[in-house]
């Protein structure tokens, strides 16, 4: 049976409400994409801000509760905490991006990622909202800084992924006008009443609307770069803090633990992105592809490593206790 995490005591009830709000804002952006009515995007953005505020409140509740029951740690230690926090930084990233750029179409992608993360947190049996005592290794003031900087990086990489998708769609249209014209024709030809076309018609329409509503390609290119370097900076900070912590707790700043290694691989991927800009013959399209691949690496580093490879960081595997 599916158990939904919704307890007022530990704050997960408010997170669940914010999850419903994120679904609502996603639907709003969905309607905006198809109707081009600014009212929908504005309403969705307001809902996103409210959901963000509610999550902030929920974090305070959860933090206080954690101290109240004697765990004495910020609520950032298990899978539920981390998924909720991931959604939180994604909303934060989107709000900031929306203030700097006019990114209504990005809302569709960002709320989708936040929604997926919240859904996993709320419904998945792997994630429970109960605050459980943590293993001794986590009992450290390093924890907060390590996790916050890494999640800021993850959020930035998620945003760069969303923008890169918009970029690639737009790039294809500009450099392959014939093909996209075909798609337009296909969209016009597609008769929603026929069974098969019902399946692909929305995607073609979505694709067409994305092209129409996205900012100019140069703006997207700049935004990808700026968001990635922000993420890269915080990824570097997070890795260094983690290394310092490991040096303090385990006796060495680097142990080639799978999570450590994958964080290095993520770092290398985005280092390639930054250096690729200086390489002749590497155009913006390749950069956008690296941003997309980079996010896949991030997701593997964040969740894949925990669910597939056991190691010192396996907080996501239920019942597993890492060494100390």
């Amino acid at each position: 049976m599916i158990h939904i995490n919704a307890s007022i005591l530990d704050g997960s009830f408010y997170f669940t409400i914010s999850f419903l709000m994120i679904i609502l804002s996603f639907l709003g952006y969905f309607l905006y994409i198809f109707t081009e009515n600014k009212l929908f995007s504005m309403a969705s953005f307001i809902i996103v801000i409210t959901a963000f505020a509610l999550q902030t409140f929920a974090f305070i509740i959860r933090w206080r509760y954690s101290y109240h029951i004697g765990i004495d740690l910020p609520p950032l230690t298990d899978l539920y905490d981390s998924l909720v926090f991931f959604a939180y930084v994604i909303l934060l990233g989107f709000i900031l991006l929306k203030l700097f750029y006019n990114f209504d179409s990005l809302g569709f992608i960002m709320t989708f990622i936040a929604m997926a993360s919240m859904a996993f947190a709320t419904i998945s049996p792997l994630a429970t909202s109960a605050i459980e005592p943590s293993i001794p290794a986590l009992r450290s003031y390093w924890l907060l800084y390590h996790i916050i900087s890494l999640f800021l990086a993850y959020g930035a990489f998620a945003a760069s992924f969303g923008i890169a998708i918009l970029f690639l769609i737009k790039y294809k249209q500009i450099h392959n006008p014939k093909k996209s014209k075909n798609i337009n024709q296909a969209a016009n030809k597609a008769n929603p009443l026929k069974f098969l076309s019902i399946l692909y018609y929305p995607f073609i329409l979505l694709y067409r609307q994305f092209i129409k509503l996205s900012p100019p390609i140069e703006t997207l290119d700049e935004a990808i770069y700026k968001v990635v370097v922000f993420g890269f900076l915080f990824l570097s900070i997070g890795i260094v803090i983690g290394a310092a912590w490991a040096d303090n707790a385990w006796g060495g700043y680097w142990s080639w633990d799978p999570k450590e290694t994958w964080s290095l691989i993520t770092w290398i991927t985005y280092a390639i992105f930054i250096h690729a800009r200086l390489t002749k013959g590497w155009n913006e399209k390749k950069m956008a592809w690296i941003a997309v691949i980079g996010f896949a690496v991030v997701i593997f580093c964040y969740l894949g490593v925990d669910l597939i490879i056991p190691g010192l960081h396996s907080y996501a595997t239920p019942g597993s206790t890492p060494i100390l």
Partner: protein, 466 residues
């Protein structure tokens, strides 16, 4: 030849290829468990696959020759490219090439080049230009006006040019980190040992190959405690250690996870805990004849098979296990020994209910001739504390390098160099209207759309005035 090598090692493409290869090798290291024992590998992969993996170096991949080789190549690239670029960039910062024409030719691909015509005179035009671009560029660093004819003039702006050095510093930071890593790999070590409560040790075993290391001091484990939450989750593992030098305790400190002890450049971390397989039973011997409580009982740690003196009527006994214990029966017994011979049948233990403050506990009890009673009071366990003993040389270098890297990344990402030229020249004398030609050349360090729109905005403001 040398210049070819130089060019090869300072290319960004080589760096990218090395990055990709290092990442690929690292992925292999996360798929195949590193540092297991040979027998474990043979169980997981089978004999043949094990030999292939061993030959490929996949079982200790981060110490393999090719991984170290790739890292060394990357370091070489880092050094060569930094050495090549640094003098050029420093020269450009200190002594920038202010020539309008060379800049236009060289940086055409990312420059914004605008030409305008105006009938206003040079002096006026330059004043307007200064006004229009002041908000984003500040004051011009070079202002050339030909005072003789008052017809030509140019302004040169440069913003954040000093921050062009930050990528170089970032690479320097990375080099410092790698230097620290190499130094600690060569001069330091990470080792591991278990210490029994009460035991003193002076050797530890290297994590990478189990070779013993002689420590410059002895370590005694005075005490070990595990603390638990109410639901049984471990909360803390605490060891009390004494550092001994020439049989004298010089420092006593408790260590737990996240709170190690450092002495003489060597750090001791709480890593694990456990107990050895019990080797002796705790046997409580009671003299049933004696009413005086003082000498009534004695506790003896009995190793199975060995003979102990009960100190009662000179009766000796041994604690033994049945070779083939019956089901649901107590598997051990006591033999009474007199003159080195076993007497009578084995004394079989009985289970009696026994109330303690903590609740009901079974009591294993047996007696001999109504003289002596033996109570089995559990087993003797030796707790040990697993500690990691590390000599971390030059970790400070790693932290300093990381700090340099992060600060330099911040400045190189968020402080971009921008240069701007504004040149006014009279039009060709052949043209009928005696107007002035204004050229605006703006060059960003990075091709950002926001930069070009900012220039367009400023240029529009300028246009309004002329």
């Amino acid at each position: 030849m040398l210049s070819k090598l130089n060019k090869f090692f300072s290319s960004v493409k080589l760096a990218i290829i090395l990055f990709i290869l290092i990442a690929a090798v690292s992925i292999v290291g996360t798929i195949i468990d590193q540092g297991d024992t040979i027998s474990q590998y043979k169980i997981i992969y089978g004999n043949n696959v094990f030999h292939i993996l061993y030959w490929l170096g996949f079982l200790n991949i981060y110490n393999s020759w090719y991984f170290i080789g790739l890292a060394a190549l990357l370091i070489l690239t880092l050094i060569v490219s930094s050495a090549n670029r640094t003098p050029k960039i420093i020269k450009e910062i200190i002594n920038p090439d202010l020539s309008f024409d060379t800049a236009l030719q060289k940086k055409r691909f990312k420059a914004q080049y605008i030409t305008l015509q105006s009938s206003k005179n040079t002096e006026e035009l330059l004043t307007f230009a200064e006004k229009a671009f002041r908000k984003n560029f500040g004051n011009p660093i070079k202002d050339i006006r030909n005072k003789k004819d008052n017809k030509t003039g140019s302004l040169f702006y440069s913003k954040n040019s000093i921050f062009r050095i930050s990528p170089i510093i970032a690479h320097l930071g990375a080099l410092v980190v790698l230097t620290g890593v190499i130094l600690s790999a060569v001069l330091g070590y990470r080792s591991y040992t278990n210490i029994k409560v009460g035991q003193t040790i002076q050797h530890s075993y290297l994590l990478k190959n189990n070779k013993p290391v002689l420590l410059p001091f002895k370590i005694k484990l005075d005490n070990y405690v595990s603390k638990y939450y109410k639901d049984g989750m471990p909360k803390a593992y605490i060891s009390t250690l004494t550092i001994m030098k020439k049989h004298i305790g010089v420092l006593t400190k408790t260590i737990r996870v996240n709170h190690p002890l450092t002495y003489d450049g060597i750090t001791i971390y709480q890593a694990s805990f456990g107990h050895y397989k019990p080797t002796a039973a705790r046997i409580l011997v009671l003299n049933l004849k004696l009413k005086n409580k003082k000498n009534k009982k004695a506790l003896i740690y009995a190793t199975p098979g060995k003979i102990y003196n009960s100190k009662i009527n000179n009766i000796k006994f041994s604690f033994n296990f049945f070779k083939k214990p019956k089901k649901n029966s107590i598997p051990f017994y006591i033999s009474i020994i007199k003159n080195n011979k076993k007497i009578g049948p084995p004394l079989i233990f009985q289970e009696l209910p026994y109330k303690t403050k903590k609740g009901n506990m079974p009591l294993f009890f047996t007696k001999y001739n109504n003289n002596i009673a033996f109570i089995f009071a559990g087993v003797k366990t030796y707790y040990y504390s697993g500690v990691e003993i590390t000599k971390n040389v030059d970790t400070d270098i790693v932290w300093i390098g990381s700090a340099i890297l992060i600060f330099a990344l911040f400045f190189s990402f968020f402080f971009n160099q921008q240069s701007l030229w504004i040149r006014v020249t009279p039009s060709e004398p052949s043209e009928k209207d005696k107007t002035n030609k204004i050229e605006i050349l703006a060059i960003p360090h990075k091709k950002f759309a926001s930069f070009y729109s900012m220039i367009d905005k400023n240029a529009d403001e300028f246009k309004k005035n002329i």
